[in-house]
């Protein structure tokens, strides 16, 4: 069972490795790349804890083999905050609104919500609930998570509006 060369960009860093084909992408990120923020709950697609971005799409890292991610660009939870460690708007909202308790599910939620709000900047409450349906949390009861997503959506739109206004009146360099 021959090992296979894979190259991918993980959080902006080019990575090259030789892996057994049966190594999941989640295990590759955690073991080979040392990025243990991608959590594994169920390892069969049900819980969403392992959600990462592959070429921008939110996907389950436990439902891909590392070999299938050859030639892709990956973002894990470690790549969501700024390089200087400043939390993203979504992360900040989870902290502010008690969107986490033990934190096990949080990487999957934050990555999923980051992709969701990028594609749906102005979601209805129903759309938010539907978007959260693919991630399970055993602690919070979801209300704090829902509040965090609502707040993050509003904050991101306000930021965009500010940036737009600044660009229009020329006050921004």
């Amino acid at each position: 069972m021959a090992d296979v060369d894979v190259r991918m960009t993980v959080n902006g860093v080019a990575r090259r490795s030789t892996v057994p084909p049966r190594l999941t992408l989640a295990d590759h990120l955690r073991s080979t790349c040392g990025l243990t923020g991608t959590h594994l709950g169920c390892e069969h697609g049900a819980c969403g804890a392992c959600t990462i971005l592959v070429d921008g799409d939110a996907v389950r890292a436990c439902l891909m083999f590392a070999v299938q991610a050859d030639d892709t660009e990956i973002t894990t939870i470690e790549g969501i905050a700024d390089r200087d460690g400043r939390l993203s708007v979504v992360q900040e909202a989870f902290r502010e609104h008690h969107g986490l308790q033990c934190g096990f599910c949080t990487p999957g939620f934050v990555v999923s919500v980051t992709a969701f709000l990028r594609d749906n900047p102005d979601p209805s409450d129903q759309e938010i609930r539907e978007a959260l349906s693919g991630n399970l949390c055993r602690c919070t009861g979801y209300q704090g998570i829902f509040a965090a997503v609502r707040a993050a959506a509003d904050a991101l739109r306000a930021t965009d509006a500010d940036a737009g206004a600044a660009a229009r009146d020329g006050s921004h360099p």
Binding site: P21, R22, T24, V59, L63, M64, Q68, E130, A131, G134
Partner: protein, 291 residues
Amino acid sequence: MKPAAFDYHRPDSLEEAVTLLAELGDDAKVIAGGQSLMPMLAMRLAAVDHLVDLRRVGELQGVVDRGDALWIGAGTTQAAIQRSADIDAAVPLLTRSTPLIGHFQIRNRGTLGGSVAHADAAGEYPAVALTLDAEIEASSVRGRRAIPAGDFFSGWWTTALEPDEVLTGVAFPRWHGRSGFAIEEFARRHGDYAIAGATVAVELDDDDRVRRCSIGLFGLAPQVERAAAAEAALVGTVAGDVRADEVGETAVSGLDSVPSDLHGPAEYRTRVGAAMVARAWEKALQEARNG
């Protein structure tokens, strides 16, 4: 690592893929989005010696307008189907069924071909293909063939595909005139496979008589089913004359192997199925009348 060890192949063309399958025989399996196969490999419900990744097979991509039908490549993701205005215009039932499949993270990888080949008894795409009399196209080194959906689904996760065949695409016939389409399902949680569901396509003539109608059932038998007796009873009737709950009752009356599981016994599923047919029938009819 949970799955058993295997060798990995990544063909660049359909020809290369079918040649590999012919050479490797029964020990090989193709992987598309992996959203059904990976869980089975992880739980060791399935084991393979060779995995053939279809990701780079360009022939499985694209959407082609064939006039009387819309061909959709097997490799098209569920997310791409959800976004396509062309698909919504030609095959609205497929578009409407898509948000009911899993969650957006699943749909970003799951494919049309994978859903149809996996042939889950509660699968939305198998039900839509069966309801619309789609043709499922397959290729092997022995040649190409088109399999009517009615001959394709043959039992629990079982289809007419041979182990050396690649499903290349599905051709969905367009319905014209005053037609309406609906899918209704009941699941415990959003994104779960449905406990039971129904798809309806109906076409009315200018006097509101049913010219054509198709009723698909999912989650109610080892494979997706058509409610042939209910369809036959409806054709020629004036649409408003038949009560929706009667349509539902007739549609489930012929079922004899409704599954029982921890979500409920067969009688319960059957009742849910009848209710889903009734709801889908009303919705589809409403749309056809306005057409």
